[in-house]
């Protein structure tokens, strides 16, 4: 009997909390079953909150699996590369002011109201100015979806299956199409198609912007290094985790992507880290540059996460959410080594191309900015205020 007598929607599991990986397990627990809303550790064991009664054995089996997968890898506790303290004048905005400008259409799916949408436009401009221009990046446009077989080449399907959001259509069959349309005429009809009515998935929403860059260079023999700027809407299905601030199902990811020699990839990464520090200091944007790893979901976690840390392949800027206190990643700087050069057979000046990228989650950045500095530019730090004014003077909707 594992049900809690006081509240049947809180279940105490038999599974002990491991020494490592608690955040990863807490996050991944949402994928054990759709009823799970959140998980936490209390008195040394896992507890979960569920929306409906759930079989305890299933829960214990799921938690045991996740503890084995994520609980044995000791991620080194490395001091931040750079820490930006909160602004000195003590002013602080409110996270709630930012959230109030978002209309939640479905879990994790938001409509941005005008002030928030305006901020997204500004932030994109500012990130291009600060992080694309120094590398003489050229712009490319990419679709918001990507062929499934293309994504398969990146190992994304094996590393992050939980995030995939497939794009489906009704199969090419007049009977299926007529039957579906007829059913939808009935008041209150369930709009979900039957599995048998759907064609096989061929597309998936972008989990990241940069995959299109590598895929579109399949088989290329490049002369010289390349910096490419691109922005797309990305999807990551995060189940119950969408209730956390900033965990959006769909979001805007601006990226600057670097393709070339190993030295180019490393040198541009080093420069990116300098530019991040300059940006955080100029905007008095409280947070820290920390070493990170991708949240590999499957049994590859141990090997890949450790490798990323040992090779310092991923840095994130984790911005403080103002009065909320927590920090969220608003940008990441990544080195991929030859992974994508190999996956898409890209050669740069006679050798396997190496790649890197810096990515910006614009909605998260906007939330953190409002939470730290508020909505009124007059109260923003000078550098941020003057950059915003320079942008606004040329924006057709504001000037």
């Amino acid at each position: 009997m594992t049900s809690n007598a006081i509240n049947p929607l809180r279940i105490r599991s038999h599974v002990a909390a491991p020494a490592h990986g608690l955040d990863q397990i807490r996050y991944a627990a949402a994928y054990i079953h759709p009823f799970i809303r959140r998980a936490w550790v209390e008195d040394g064991v896992w507890w979960v909150e569920v929306s409906e009664p759930l079989d305890a054995a299933l829960l214990d089996a799921g938690l045991t699996k996740l503890c084995q997968r994520f609980g044995n890898t000791a991620i080194p506790d490395i001091a931040p590369l750079y820490t930006q303290p909160p602004r000195e004048d003590g002013y602080q905005g409110k996270l709630a002011d930012g959230i109030a400008l978002l209309h939640e259409h479905a879990p994790g799916l938001f409509v941005a109201r005008p002030r928030f949408a305006e901020l997204l436009r500004f932030l994109d401009w500012a990130m291009l100015r600060r992080f694309a221009k120094p590398f003489a990046a050229v712009e490319e446009t990419y679709p918001n979806v990507i062929p499934l077989d293309t994504l398969a080449k990146t190992n994304h399907l094996t590393g992050f299956p939980e995030h995939l959001h497939f794009v489906l259509h009704l199969t090419e069959d007049l009977g299926v199409l007529d039957d579906y349309a007829t059913r939808m005429k009935a008041p209150g009809a369930d709009p979900a198609p039957k599995p048998s009515e759907l064609a096989p998935a061929m597309l998936v929403h972008n989990p990241s912007t940069c995959y299109h860059c590598y895929a579109s260079r399949q088989g290329a023999r490049l002369e010289g290094d390349q910096a490419i700027a691109a922005v797309t809407r990305c999807h990551r299905y995060e189940s119950a985790n969408h209730s956390d601030p900033g965990r959006l199902l769909e979001f805007t990811m601006r990226e600057v992507i670097f393709v070339g020699s190993p030295d180019y990839a490393r040198n541009t990464r080093a420069r990116c880290l300098e530019l991040i520090q300059q940006w955080a200091a100029d905007w008095q944007f409280a947070g820290a540059i920390v070493q990170a790893n991708d949240p590999f979901f499957t049994s590859e976690y141990d090997v890949k996460a450790s490798h990323q840390h040992r090779m310092a392949m991923k840095y994130e800027y984790r911005a403080i959410l103002g009065d909320h206190g927590k920090a969220i990643s608003v940008m990441s700087s990544n080195l991929h080594s030859a992974t994508f050069g190999k996956a898409f057979d890209i050669i740069s000046e006679g050798r396997r191309a190496n790649t890197g990228c810096i990515g910006f989650g614009l909605e998260r950045m906007a939330l953190a900015l409002i939470a730290q500095h508020g909505l009124e530019p007059a109260r923003w730090p000078e550098a941020l205020r003057s950059e915003h004014a320079a942008w606004a003077a040329r924006d057709p909707l504001l000037s």
């Binding site: 190993p262 990839a265 490393r266 090997v303 890949k304 450790s306 490798h307 990323q308 040992r310 090779m311 080594s337 030859a338 992974t339 050069g341 190999k342 057979d345 050669i347 006679g350 050798r351 396997r352 190496n354």
Partner: protein, 86 residues
């Protein structure tokens, strides 16, 4: 002996990626990680190769720090482990 080991290791590393075959940058003293020649999974493959080909266990070796970041250093380590076993 170490030279034979190094040659075999270089052949193994060249075989990881067709692009390595004609890559003049891939030398015994190049940094295999900075050069993009090894990643997490190919390191595991390298450990398995060393076990099967040379009979030595590199599973606890630190490939990320110091001399094992290049083929010459790995070959020297393999030769040392073989000598300890003899």
């Amino acid at each position: 002996m170490s030279g034979d080991i190094q040659t075999a290791l270089m052949d193994f590393i060249r075989g990881l990626d067709p692009a390595n075959a004609g890559d003049p940058h891939l030398t015994p003293d190049v940094d295999l990680y900075d050069g993009g020649y090894l990643d997490s999974f190919s390191t595991v493959e390298l450990i398995e190769f060393a076990q099967s080909r040379f009979g030595v266990d590199l599973s606890t070796a630190d490939f990320y720090e110091g001399p094992l970041r290049n083929a010459a250093g790995i070959a020297a380590e393999v030769a040392k482990l073989q000598a300890q076993k003899a």
